[in-house]
């Protein structure tokens, strides 16, 4: 049993799904084998396999529509897979739903809380759902929610809703936490605060699955990352090695309407390189690269 925390790539599963046996790894915290999910004729997830060790932060990266959310929704039992097997701490997400939900905390997209309940009331309610819940005051403090406890959910900003959602994912003292785009909608300071919080949670031995758009977030937090594209695994590796592979970078080529300073772009977390080729500019990087480059130049 490899109880690994901290950096580095724990054990097996080198690169890609190919080097992965069909024998379930009984000691993994989360085990996904040949997962398949279709919506009508659309194949959302196709033969996805990975395993997450206890105490590991495992990232799932990929463009929109790659199947990231569908994958984690199957892992927490919200969706019924069409094929494959999933085990979370030895539990089948479909067969053992209630037991699973007692030990797995989730922060989801497309979910909300009652508009006319207050932050403190919601936290108190969700706290009561778990027998071995976390300390309520500590959670509120670490997510900066203590002074917001008397505010109605509907009056919260997007960032605060997001923080409350993360708080609820951690409130049950989960053994596994699934966080789907947890820093989307947060300002840079709140993002960094959240990263520090997640590292603290991992240091307590919690296994974390992190769905993200951001390579910088993955590089900062994740021990290993899987890259999904159109429902299939493209690579599984450490974020550093993944970023070094040429194929990972996105490439944007354009002719600027006027001169601009390269530093405008190189300062962005999504951008890795900026090159000039005659009149053309070639930018490589990750995330929503094209949008961000266009936006930055338009605002300059």
């Amino acid at each position: 049993m490899s109880l690994c925390s901290g950096g580095g790539a724990p054990g097996a599963a080198g690169s890609g799904a190919a080097g992965f046996g069909s024998v379930p790894d009984a000691e993994a915290a989360v085990e996904v084998l040949h997962l398949r999910k279709t919506y009508g004729t659309t194949v959302a997830v196709d033969d996805v396999s990975f395993s997450v060790q206890e105490g590991e932060i495992f990232g799932i990266l990929g463009p929109n529509g790659a199947g990231k959310t569908t994958t984690v929704e199957c892992v927490i039992g919200l969706r019924v897979p069409d094929g494959g097997a999933i085990r979370v701490m030895g539990l089948d997400p479909q067969e053992d739903r209630e037991d699973l939900h007692a030990i797995v905390g989730a922060q989801l997209q497309a979910s909300a809380l009652p508009a006319r309940l207050k932050v403190g009331e919601i936290l108190d309610l969700y706290h009561s759902f778990y027998r071995e819940a976390a300390d309520l005051g500590e959670i509120m403090e670490s997510l900066g929610l203590a002074e917001k406890r008397n505010e109605y959910y509907r009056s919260l900003s997007g960032g605060l809703k997001q923080r409350l959602s993360i708080a609820l994912a951690l409130i049950g003292n989960p053994k596994v936490a699934v966080l789907d785009e947890m820093t989307t909608g947060l300002d840079p300071q709140a993002r960094r605060d959240t990263w520090a919080l997640i590292e603290g949670v991992r240091d307590r031995g919690v296994t974390i699955i992190l769905v993200t758009h951001y390579m910088d977030e993955a590089e900062r937090l994740c021990d290993r990352v899987t890259l999904l594209d159109r429902g299939r695994i493209v690579a599984i590796d450490t974020p550093e090695r993944l970023a070094d592979r040429a194929g990972v970078d996105k490439r944007v080529r354009f002719v600027p309407s006027g001169p601009f300073s390269d530093r405008l772009l190189t300062g962005l977390p999504e951008v890795r390189t900026v090159e000039h080729e005659g009149e053309q500019v070639i930018v490589t990087g990750s995330g929503e690269l094209a949008n961000i480059v266009i936006l930055t130049l338009a605002l300059a």
């Binding site: 049993m1 009984a26 000691e27 927490i76 919200l78 701490m89 030895g90 539990l91 209630e98 037991d99 939900h101 007692a102 030990i103 797995v104 905390g105 989730a106 989801l108 497309a110 979910s111 909300a112 809380l113 009652p114 508009a115 006319r116 309940l117 009331e121 919601i122 108190d124 309610l125 969700y126 009561s128 759902f129 778990y130 027998r131 071995e132 609820l168 049950g172 053994k175």
Partner: protein
Amino acid sequence: MSIHASLLPARTPRSAFGKLLESEAKYAWRAPVGLIFGVTVPVLVLVILGTVPGVNKPVKAFGGLTYFSIYFPILIVLALAVLSLISLPLHLANYREQGILRRMSTTPVPPGWMLAAQVIINLVLAAVALGILVVAGTAGFGLGAPKAPGGFTLALALTIAAMFAIGLWVSAIARTTGGASVIGQLLFYPLLFFAGLWLPREHMAPVLRDISDWTPLGAAVRSLQSSMLGAFPSAQSLLVLAAWAVVFGVLAVRFFRWE
């Protein structure tokens, strides 16, 4: 496997249901759809009824009961219909549409808890409406006690069960508040028509009254009225109510989804 099994904490403590009920009650108070419509609509009808001359005169054919006493069951089923077909499904559909049920479905809380909490809250509202109707009716309209109290209680309990089963079924199949509103109202008006809200059952053509006997609110009014007059409700109307309760209760459980 065995390593993990010992790590499992027990499931959601029962006491959490109290918390859920408490927060749902706060919500019902702060967004008082059920309170406004479920309680005030029947009270408004009662007030309008009060302007009809002779409604509080004792009638010989009713064994000395007033017209109001015979109309009283219709007010009761009106309150129950608003709460079960409008208030309950709209709230749950709103929760589904917003993703609030989806969020809760990732906790160890059993799905039935939210339904149970909502039914309890709407039952409390029904009790409030009933209380106001009884007090106002007794004070202003010569409302007497039902002459067959046992039959009245049984008929009322079965009516509540039937109507909330139908309301839960609507909640189970409606994906959006818009859908819940349409389905709820498609049931609301016909069922209240057959209850005799606009045209009393006694004045219905025989074929309409026969249909009414098989509808939940027709059977409800029939059995409640006969209890008011002193006769134990007919087995037919009680069985009709029970059948609606069982069939739609099963369908509601069968089709309920978190999202």
